[in-house]
């Protein structure tokens, strides 16, 4: 029997750290009153350290008890961007440890349904970002900024590394203060507090405005439908999207393009 504890679990907010929390719950037969990172709080806390040995063991146990589907469900749902997600994930894990691999398919069960919803939220947002990310091209490297609800970087890295295998690029997640870095086969997700991109060059400005022009021209005025646009592309994504947020400066753009053409011809 698990008993409710008045303690909060304090951990490093990583998935591995969370696995150690689950381990501790099972060992002490307790359900903590909540989870927190290293922020200050008035509650009494139990500090859970991320221990490599425990992590390996927990991964092994969870993979075999939850099945590979169950394990990936858990790790995907962990990326959900909500402050109190851990308790739901913990309850689901305890339920699944008890039930075995079939737990994942019991979608009528409230715990399973909740975790599946969380996973769906994460995967949907990650899929949106495959298309909605906008890179700035500096010639030698690409950079992008995103402001997602969920921690989607681990879910989009394979796609972009595969797509731009020869490029050096950085995707900065402003919400979670982390960045995905890629440089000739080296790939990392690292904590990063702030990132201020360099000034875009002329070519970059040209292509931004060309795309903006394209975006306007491709729409059919007779079919204008703002509601549909808003449903498919919610406003929260637009802050970092060239076609909505780029404001060309006062220098005339055709001047710019003529200038670039001349430069190209002379070289």
């Amino acid at each position: 029997m698990f008993k409710r504890s008045a303690l909060m679990y304090q951990y490093d907010k990583t998935f591995n750290g969370f696995l150690c929390c689950i381990y501790s719950c099972c060992r002490l037969h307790e359900i903590p009153s909540g989870f927190c990172g290293n922020e200050d709080s008035l509650f009494e806390k139990r500090e859970i350290c991320t221990n490599h040995k425990v992590v390996t063991e927990m991964r092994h146990i969870l993979r075999s008890r939850l099945g590979s589907n169950g394990f990936s469900l858990l790790s995907n749902a962990f990326l959900y961007g909500e402050a109190h997600k851990e308790t739901d994930l913990l309850m689901f894990t305890l339920f699944a440890l008890h039930t075995g691999p079939s737990a994942v398919f019991m979608r009528g069960h409230p715990l399973v349904a909740r975790v599946c919803d969380m996973e769906r939220g994460v995967l949907n947002e990650a899929h949106h970002f495959l298309g909605f990310i906008r890179f700035t091209d500096y010639g030698y490297a690409l950079s992008a900024i995103i402001e997602p609800k969920h921690f989607v970087l681990p879910k989009i890295r394979t796609h972009f590394c595969d797509r731009f295998s020869g490029e050096t690029f950085l995707i900065f997640d402003k919400t979670h203060k982390a960045a995905l870095l890629h440089h000739s086969n080296i790939l990392r997700i690292v904590p990063l507090d702030a990132f201020s991109p360099a000034q875009p060059d002329d070519a970059e400005l040209l292509f931004r405005s060309l795309f903006q022009r394209y975006h306007t021209a491709v729409s059919i005025p007779e079919r204008k439908n703002e509601r549909c646009q808003n449903t498919n592309l919610p406003k929260r994504f637009r802050g970092q999207m060239t076609e909505f947020s780029f404001h060309p400066s006062t220098t005339s753009l055709s001047e710019l393009s003529v200038h670039l053409l001349e430069k190209e011809q002379s070289s």
């Binding site: 079939s102 398919f105 019991m106 979608r107 009528g108 069960h109 409230p110 349904a113 899929h127 495959l130 298309g131 909605f132 990310i133 906008r134 890179f135 700035t136 091209d137 690409l142 992008a144 796609h159 590394c161 595969d162 797509r163 731009f164 295998s165 020869g166 490029e167 070519a203 292509f207 405005s209 060309l210 795309f211 022009r213 394209y214 975006h215 306007t216 021209a217 491709v218 729409s219 059919i220 005025p221 007779e222 079919r223 204008k224 439908n225 703002e226 509601r227 549909c228 646009q229 449903t231 498919n232 592309l233 999207m241 060239t242 076609e243 753009l253 055709s254 393009s257 003529v258 053409l261």
Partner: protein
């Protein structure tokens, strides 16, 4: 002419093409190349009309030697003409692609000089992309009817998807409005592409590295509402095209009047968006739900019901086949229940393996019951407190009442901006069904 103007003119001329999907081929990246393609397709943006922007959709040129009445690019029309050079267009595509603006290129063209010359220009553009930039992203190209077989063949080896627009649902319509084109001339390249895809499948079985011909298949598009054809006729044609040419998609495009001509609908005609939407719904039923055109419409009812979508309409006319038991009904039957789509049906099949389901379970696994509740039982019981009559069903399915007092206004209002259900409108107008 600077690149801004070119892009504006050639995008403007291409925007009525509806096929903007980037789906159908899964191709990973490779060292020394740029790009990949995802089978599910990726939307990169949405334009003000709510449609997905996935590809850079442009014409190579809007100059054309033909004179199709419904087309803005026709020879006799006085518009500004522009043309890209192959290099310009390839560079632009790559610049957009690297910034993740697009998933690839959708290239179509007016007929410049003659079909062969036009085709050669398209080939050159795609060759620069594929061979010079080593671009592995998505390319959709329009085959130019009348071009040499050898050229169509080359084009298909460079593209992921090819399409030939069938333009109008009947050959009489074609004769009237597009005097330079014949049904035969359109079907010929379509047949050719179909055969090449078939041969290629055979080649690929034998030699794994045989070059791929249009691996994402081919599609077509027709204009709805420029001629007087019944919905049944269009649907039958669609079905026949799927069968005969194994098309991946048939797209419909509501006719938007842009020029006055005695043979065309008058300029104040509203584009038949609801009709287009119903066609997409019916097309979906043909492709994924195991329906036949003749089940959806028949000679007595050759046009769609404006109030009910085709699936609900079928169900309301076949109430004797309902309700079905959630815990026993086979997959194909679940699919026929209004409100249950492919995803929900699959979820039900998976979930019921672990015990029988009730209405609460259905909600939790994400089945929307608003429509489905009338057609289902769980463990032999109907949804509690369900009011069951044809009128309540139609009310729930369409979001409107059939009472004579407002049926006229209800029908009329369908053609204004706000149509039956929110979801319908959204999908209709985005052409995403």
């Amino acid at each position: 002419m600077d690149i801004f103007e070119k892009l504006t003119i050639l995008t403007d001329a291409a925007k009525y093409d509806v096929a903007c999907t980037s789906s159908g081929v899964d191709r990973g990246g490779a060292p020394g190349t740029i790009g990949n393609a995802a089978a599910c397709g990726i939307c990169h943006s949405f334009s003000a009309d709510g449609r997905c922007i996935s590809l850079l959709k442009v014409l190579f040129t809007n100059a054309c030697v033909y004179d199709c009445k419904y087309c803005l690019n026709r020879r006799s029309n006085d518009v500004r003409r522009a043309a890209f050079t192959p290099r310009e267009l390839a560079d632009l595509t790559i610049a957009f692609y690297r910034r993740n603006y697009i998933e690839g290129l959708f290239l179509s063209s007016g007929v410049f000089k003659n079909p062969d010359y036009t085709c050669e220009q398209l080939i050159e553009t795609l060759s620069i992309l594929r061979n010079e930039y080593r671009f592995r992203g998505y390319i959709h190209v329009k085959a130019i009817p009348g071009a040499d077989t050898r050229l169509i063949d080359q084009l298909g080896l460079l593209a992921d998807r090819m399409s030939v627009n069938i333009e109008l649902p009947t050959s009489e319509g074609l004769q009237k409005l597009a005097p330079d084109k014949t049904r035969q001339a359109i079907l010929k390249p379509m047949g050719l592409i179909h055969n090449r895809i078939q041969e290629n499948n055979y080649d690929l079985v034998q030699y794994r590295h045989a070059p791929k011909f249009a691996p994402a298949g081919h599609s077509t598009q027709m204009i709805i509402g420029a001629t007087n054809d019944s919905d049944l006729h269009i649907l039958r044609l669609t079905q026949a095209l799927y069968h005969k040419y194994a098309l991946k998609r048939v797209f419909f495009s509501a006719y938007i009047p842009m020029q006055s001509h005695a043979l065309l609908p008058s300029l104040d005609t509203k584009p038949p968006l609801l009709r287009e939407h119903r066609l997409y719904q019916a097309d979906w039923l043909l492709r994924f739900y195991g329906f036949h055109a003749e089940e959806i419409l028949d000679d007595e009812h050759p046009d769609f019901n404006p109030i009910l979508d085709p699936k609900c309409n079928w169900a309301v006319n076949h109430l004797d086949q309902f309700p079905v038991e959630v815990n026993r009904a086979p997959y194909e039957i679940l699919l026929r229940v209004p409100g249950i789509g492919v995803k929900s049906a699959r979820r039900i099949i998976t979930a019921r393996k672990n015990g029988s389901l009730d209405f609460g379970d259905l909600k939790r696994i994400g089945v929307v019951l608003k429509r489905a509740q009338f057609f289902l039982t769980c463990r032999g019981k109907q949804m509690p407190h369900l009011k069951f009559s044809t009128d309540t069903i139609i009310h729930a399915l369409s979001g409107q009442s059939l009472s004579p007092a407002n049926s006229d206004t209800a029908q009329l209002s369908l053609f204004s901006e706000s149509s039956p259900t929110k979801e319908d409108v959204q999908k209709c107008l985005s052409g995403q069904l």
